[in-house]
């Protein structure tokens, strides 16, 4: 069970290797990536801040719960902190399982759960300002309709 909060770039291959198992028929890997736009605003870069020790503790609890709840083989969760440019990877979650249904379900659940309770915060920086994003739903709301 690979769990890490780090300011170094994340390598999905490391997460895949960490969950590999002779009993695994399926591995699902999710990457959270810095996109150039949110809620209709052009993003210049993001800054992630964590409470690292508690974040790793929560991530480990989530990984253990995912293994038990979905009957999967192994999980890895990596989260990056610091300044991230557009296109860089902020999150890697990987799940190995016998068959694909559990791998997809567990990986999705891990990401949802991480956004709900792992103490990590994102600041969006635009050309003309910045803002700490409060709560996961701020990111998942659809962009507002363009003005008529």
């Amino acid at each position: 069970m690979l769990i890490r909060v780090t300011d170094a770039p994340l390598d999905p291959s490391e997460a895949i290797a960490a969950v590999a198992s002779p009993a695994a028929g399926a591995i699902d890997v999710f990457l959270g990536v810095v996109r150039n736009e949110n809620l209709g605003r052009t993003v210049d870069h993001l800054v992630y801040e964590a409470y690292p020790s508690m974040a790793e503790r929560e991530m480990e609890a989530i990984a253990r719960e995912a293994c038990a709840r979905f009957g999967v083989i192994d999980c890895a969760i990596l989260h990056r902190t610091g300044r991230l440019a557009i296109g860089e990877t902020s999150l890697v979650a990987a799940v190995s399982s016998g068959h694909r249904a559990e791998a997809f379900a567990a990986c999705r659940w891990i990401v949802d759960e991480l956004k709900r309770r792992v103490p990590i915060w994102k600041k969006e920086v635009w050309s003309d300002g910045e803002e700490w994003i409060e709560g996961p739903e701020a990111l998942e709301r659809p962009a507002p309709a363009p003005p008529r």
Binding site: S90, R116, I120, K123, P136
Partner: protein
């Protein structure tokens, strides 16, 4: 006790770490109220603030052990 501040809360207060006096029998909310009295900038964060004692989420009602670390956790936005 040590209180840890993060993200918007830390920026607003201008500190990432505060020292607060704790009396025997204090609960999280007592420490919180003392913090708000000393740093009224915390007020707007209260409706959505969560708390962690020694790296575990805690209620406002949780008693504060001697030597514990309290963290103020604004709504998280990792991922």
């Amino acid at each position: 006790m040590t209180v840890l501040l993060f993200a918007g809360v830390a920026e607003r207060v201008g500190a990432r770490r505060l020292a607060v006096e704790v009396a025997p029998g204090d609960r999280v909310r007592d420490v919180r109220d003392r913090l708000v009295a000393a740093h009224p900038q915390l007020e707007p964060f209260l409706p959505t603030l969560r708390y962690a004692l020694d790296e575990e989420y805690a209620d406002e009602d949780t008693p504060v052990p001697a030597g514990a670390t309290l963290a103020l956790i604004p709504p998280v936005s990792g991922g």
